[in-house]
């Protein structure tokens, strides 16, 4: 039952919030934060299960030839996605306190907590129907926050762009699932032992991959991203880029690759090109971006492109390192977007050209930004490097050409992260008139600190995570049929 408690505790907390008067902001904050932190603490107990056991819960749901079960589990593959979700969500709920007018705080917190439950549901679902339901439910809180709480026309447009684009992706995923279940007659993953014709599995894998590429996003399906990432309030964008963007790549590992191993190999050449395009295009766009959140958004495109490369290079090392990279990117992106949110809140602009020299007034903010930027840049000793290095050492063995191209992005990443960090922090002081004190407040320092601590920890000792995801990936190239060892 622990597993269901973790999944639904945020939702229950959200419902409790509805019983509290809108004006009692102190109580609202306390309840929301307590719920989110409790979820995180509870999710930590999954760690004690060790690597050989899993938390698993099954209840019958829909019987018949198209059977589905309420089947959730936490195993080596899912564990760190769950932990990432609970950690980032707790941080973001805390961060959210200052991003809504007092009267609207309740709704904001409600939606963030609901969002957390949908994410947890998604990462624990071991049944395709369940997975799909969460896949689409995820859109609602994001859409509502974006259209309702950012308060500008641009944000409302961004919300629609997000909804339509991701809705379309979801629809294609649904078609793929239906096509599959039409053959297997069950949504249960353990029952999904497809014996599909080559052509059908080619189509189905394509459908899954399309939906996942939209969600991540990957080039050229990323055009919902710039507006969504720049317009979202910081806690939301931290959750979307930090956690939700992992949904597609998680879906690949948990479902698409084990279900359609042969089709994955047929698709791989195209998807590898897509990966490299994301990596290089994202890096170049980030260098050119003048909007600080947009810069980080494009850097996400580049970094997650690397994970596509990792998965479709079909090397055991790189697929496993891809998980590390996803977790690491989640932490780094969340930290960066929160910190940029603090800066935007103080200076009232996202324009890199309008701000400068902040480090003179805010050495702590500068130190925090330095760690986050260096992690994104891939500095050895921080988690970004560990993911990147282990991916590339693996892909080099199977795809040296693409790996060489990806290495160009390592240098480009240095350029855009320095542009971001130095434009904001160094140079002659430039501040828009009326900007308040710049330095981080204690609350802000404490809430970002866990993310930075995790970034440092995973950078110094990524083997700790490797050892806890041992059977997540046991692929043997060229057949990936056992990609997810425990599900096969």
């Amino acid at each position: 039952m622990l597993i269901n408690t973790v999944i639904f505790l945020p939702l229950v907390t959200a419902l409790v919030l509805l019983c509290v008067p809108r004006t009692a902001s102190g109580a609202l904050k306390a309840i929301a934060l307590a719920g989110a932190v409790a979820t995180f603490v509870l999710s930590l107990t999954f760690m004690s299960l060790g690597v050989s056991t899993v938390a698993d819960f099954t209840a019958p749901w829909i019987a018949g030839p198209w059977s589905a079960a309420y089947h959730v589990r936490v195993d080596a593959l899912r564990l760190f996605f769950v932990l990432l979700t609970t950690l980032v969500s707790a941080v973001c709920v805390w961060a959210a306190f200052s991003y809504a007018q007092a009267t609207r705080l309740r709704g904001f917190l409600f939606l963030l907590l609901t969002f957390e439950t949908t994410l947890l549901g998604l990462f624990t679902a071991a049944d395709l129907l369940l997975f799909y339901i969460y896949w689409d439910l995820m859109l609602i809180p994001v859409f509502l926050i974006l259209s309702g709480y950012a308060g500008s026309d641009d944000a409302r447009k961004a919300a629609w762009g997000y909804l339509i684009y991701n809705g379309a992706g979801g629809l294609v995923l649904l078609l793929g699932i239906i096509g599959l279940v039409n053959q297997t007659h069950t949504f249960e993953v353990s029952g999904l032992v497809p014996n599909l014709s080559g052509a059908l599995s080619w189509w189905l894998f394509g459908a899954f991959a399309f939906a996942f590429a939209v969600k991540t996003p990957a080039f050229p399906f990323h055009s919902w991203m710039p507006a969504t990432y720049t317009q979202s309030p910081p806690p939301l964008v931290a959750m979307v880029s930090g956690v939700q963007s992992k949904a597609g790549l998680f879906g690949l590992l948990a479902f698409a690759l084990p279900l359609f191993p042969d089709a994955a190999h047929v698709w791989a050449p195209l998807l590898l090109v897509m990966a490299i395009a994301s990596i290089l295009y994202g890096a170049l766009a980030a260098i050119g971006a003048r909007d600080m959140k947009l810069l980080v958004a494009y850097s996400s495109l580049s970094h997650l492109g690397l994970v596509w490369l990792a998965f479709f290079a079909f090397s055991i090392t790189s697929v496993s390192a891809g998980i590390l990279m996803l977790i690491s990117h989640g932490l780094i992106a969340a930290a960066l977007f929160l910190l940029l949110g603090f800066i935007e809140e103080r200076v009232g602009t996202r324009d890199l050209g309008a701000v400068g020299g902040l480090s003179q007034h805010a050495p702590r903010l500068a130190a925090y930004m330095l760690v986050a930027a260096m992690a994104a840049l891939g500095l050895p000793g921080l988690s970004g490097f560990a993911g990147e290095f282990l991916i590339l050492i693996g892909t080099w063995q199977t795809q040296p050409l693409y790996t060489s191209l990806a290495l160009i992005a390592v240098v480009l990443a240095c350029v855009y992260m320095l542009v971001l960090f130095q434009s904001l922090m160094h140079g002659p002081e430039r501040l828009p008139r009326g900007a308040g004190p710049i330095e981080l407040r204690p609350r802000e320092m404490w809430l970002v600190a866990p993310l930075l601590a995790a970034i440092v920890f995973l950078g110094v000792w990524p083997g700790w995570l490797n050892d806890r995801t041992p059977n997540a990936v046991t692929a043997q190239p060229p057949a990936v049929s056992t990609t997810v060892g425990r599900h096969a």
Binding site: I178, L284, G288, Q422, M425
Partner: protein, 647 residues
């Protein structure tokens, strides 16, 4: 002894790190001097322990002088690895051997002297405590680099010193020149990091491990061409870090950093990491003749080219920066031809005399209120006798005059070039020796002589013992440091024997080749005489020559326009492409096309406009209803309700 060997190296490594953490945590709650003391003591502690460790290691027989330390130790029940994705395993491991010890002694020893010097030099800085924290970070990362037991930890240290260098070059963060110099340094260093990464990937592919022990033991199992490629990619890293051609352009700009930084990072230690890397990977280069030759040629070319540029510069620190590039060229040349002991020897003496030169120059700059242009100096010999004397010793040492340190090490390198049969490399090395003496004495004459003082403000002559004591110590070392190798008594090769085996003891280090020594000494003397003639005796002749060779002068003053070439070749195209993508292609191209198609084909745009007037709740509700309808359609209509058991 077990416990001693297991704990001391970790203590050496982490003392500077904890010093940094302490300074950072204490922040403004301790007085400025407190931070300085913590920084100094932690590095001094590391030095003392290194000396103890070194004396222990060198007391062992040469074939037992390599200590490998793994964490956790082999008997631990829970092994831990930095990365563990079988078959890939990367351990936490250190390797202490004579090569590492030589570097550790210089890093902590010279590092301590420069920390001491900084107490006074940085007095007026607003970020005094931060400075010491960064300097400690540097010492920690540099120790990591040389103490690493596999290529991964080498890379961690490698990038760590890059970070420290970046932070300290841009230390005066409100000056745009410093900010841009820092950016350039880090970007070029990351290019080098990528080079090392590729070498690592190749090594993993061929040897299945990154551990020095495994790689070096199995070196012959890979073919020559594979080893050549590994060697070339390692060289890319070495070239970027050591400011050799063609990735050298960041070093002159790095002089934007405070002078103690230039002395420690951009002269004595970090920039010699490339030399260390090649000496460390010597089993690879021993079996990769093409790569080794490339190393030697690049070192030789860098030594020569940098010396020519140094002749035409007017910023005292830039001249020293080009001289650093040139002297490191000698070291790279030496390790490229396999003269590892000679290269290491020159590293040691160079650390003494180049740190000395920078710190003496720092005293001058300090007392001139930040002036660095030698055209605005002159006649300072009488006004700053201490700076003059110490700078002169440094100059004599770098020029290779007997009996100063540089004489012995430069002579050792040139000797070995002759002996190993590289007459062309030797010839260029000797010409460079002449150029070195010329531009260094040009610097001495323009700064300390050539008539009266030409500057705008009156120099003040502050004397601070914390600045002068370390300079004096280095002056002594720059004088006697070369006596490690005397005729018939080659202490350097003996010390390094455990690291290089037979390669350490080339016969010439302790012998005198009168021909080579004669040419070297003659070159140095000729450089001195020419500089003296042109600057003290016949300034008219100098001016005439300057007009005659004006175009040459301009090319040299602009460092062969390499920066300009890189600007147009790399920077402009990348930045243009980037800003075009961000401004036009992405918003209007990729995004625009897709949105346009969606709007025109489905009329979604119109539908949306009508919807936006509604309540948020309706959007959400509508979507869920939509999804449910789609789902229901498939379940009930397509499959006649079979899916939910309604037959």
């Amino acid at each position: 002894m077990e416990g001693f060997v297991a704990t001391v190296p970790f203590t050496i490594l982490f003392l500077p790190f904890f010093g940094m953490v302490l300074i950072a945590l204490a922040g403004p709650y301790v007085p400025r001097l407190g931070a300085a003391i913590v920084g100094n003591l932690s590095v001094l502690g590391s030095f003392v322990l290194t000396a103890v460790l070194a004396s222990y290691v060198w007391s062992l027989p040469p074939d037992q002088q390599v200590l490998t330390l793994k964490y956790p130790p082999a008997w631990a029940t829970h092994p831990a690895y930095w990365a563990h994705i079988p078959p890939l395993t990367i351990s936490f491991e250190l390797r202490i051997d004579p090569l590492a010890l030589m570097w550790m002694l210089i890093i902590t020893g010279v590092g301590f002297l420069i920390h001491l010097y900084s107490i006074g030099y940085m007095q007026e800085s607003k970020w005094y405590r931060t400075f010491f924290a960064y300097m400690n970070l540097f010492v920690f990362a540099m120790l990591m680099l040389v103490m690493a037991g596999n290529f991964l930890w080498l890379l961690v240290g490698w990038a760590g010193v890059g970070l420290a260098s970046y932070l300290l070059i841009g230390f005066d963060a409100d000056r745009m020149a410093a900010v841009l110099a820092a950016r350039k340094a880090l970007i070029m260093n990351v290019i080098g990091d990528v080079g090392i990464m590729v070498a690592i990937f190749l090594m993993y592919a061929h040897f299945g491990s990154l551990s020095y022990k495994v790689v070096f033991a199995n070196v012959t199992s890979a073919g020559t061409s594979a080893l050549d490629w590994i060697g070339i990619w390692l060289l890319v890293g070495a070239v970027a870090k050591s400011a050799q051609l063609p990735l050298h352009t960041w070093l002159p700009d790095a002089m934007e950093g405070p002078t103690p930084v230039s002395a420690l990072i951009h002269a004595a230690t970090m920039v010699t990491a490339g030399v260390y890397l090649i000496a460390r990977a010597h089993p690879i280069y021993d079996h990769a003749p093409a790569a080794a030759m490339t190393v030697a040629v690049i070192g030789c070319a860098s030594a020569f080219v940098a010396a020519t540029i140094g002749m035409a510069q007017y910023d005292i620190k830039r001249v020293l920066a080009y001289s650093t590039m040139s002297q490191i060229g000698y070291m790279i040349l030496a390790v490229g031809v396999g003269a590892y002991a000679a290269g290491t020897f020159h590293f040691v003496t160079h650390a003494f005399f180049k740190a000395l030169l920078f710190m003496a120059a720092g005293i001058i700059i300090h007392n001139l209120g930040g002036e660095q242009d030698i055209r605005k100096m002159g006649g300072l010999a009488k006004r700053m006798p201490f700076a003059f004397l110490t700078f002169l010793i440094g100059t004599l040492a770098i020029s290779g005059f007997f009996p100063f340190a540089g004489f012995f090490s430069k002579d050792a390198i040139l000797d070995e070039l002759q002996l190993l049969g590289h007459p062309w490399l030797w010839a260029f090395g000797s010409i460079t020796a002449l150029l070195t003496a010329y531009y260094m004495f040009r610097l001495v004459f323009m700064t300390f002589f050539t008539g009266a003082y030409r500057g705008d403000h009156e120099p003040h002559a502050d004397r601070s013992p914390t600045m002068e004591v370390p300079v004096a110590i280095l002056a002594v070392l720059a004088t006697i440091g070369g006596w490690l190798v005397l005729p018939g008594h080659d202490e350097m090769s003996r010390l390094l024997q455990g690291a290089f085996g037979d390669r350490g003891i080339l016969p010439t280090m302790g012998e005198i080749n009168w021909f080579v020594t004669g040419v070297t000494t003659f070159s140095a003397a000729a450089g001195l005489v020419i500089a003296w003639w042109l600057y003290e005796r016949a300034p008219q002749l100098r001016r005439r020559l300057a007009t005659m060779f004006a175009p040459v002068q301009r090319v040299l003053a602009n460092a062969y326009y390499i920066d300009t070439i890189y600007h147009w070749l790399f920077e402009v195209p990348t930045l243009t492409a980037a800003s075009d993508i961000a401004k036009y292609v992405d918003p209007e191209g990729v995004g625009g096309v897709i949105a346009g198609v969606a709007r025109t084909t489905t009329g979604l745009g119109d539908a949306m406009r009508g919807w936006e007037t509604g309540y948020l709740r309706r959007y959400g509700l509508g979507m869920v209803v939509g999804m449910v309808l789609v789902l229901a359609y498939y379940i009930f209509v397509v499959h006649g309700g079979a899916a939910v058991g309604m037959r």
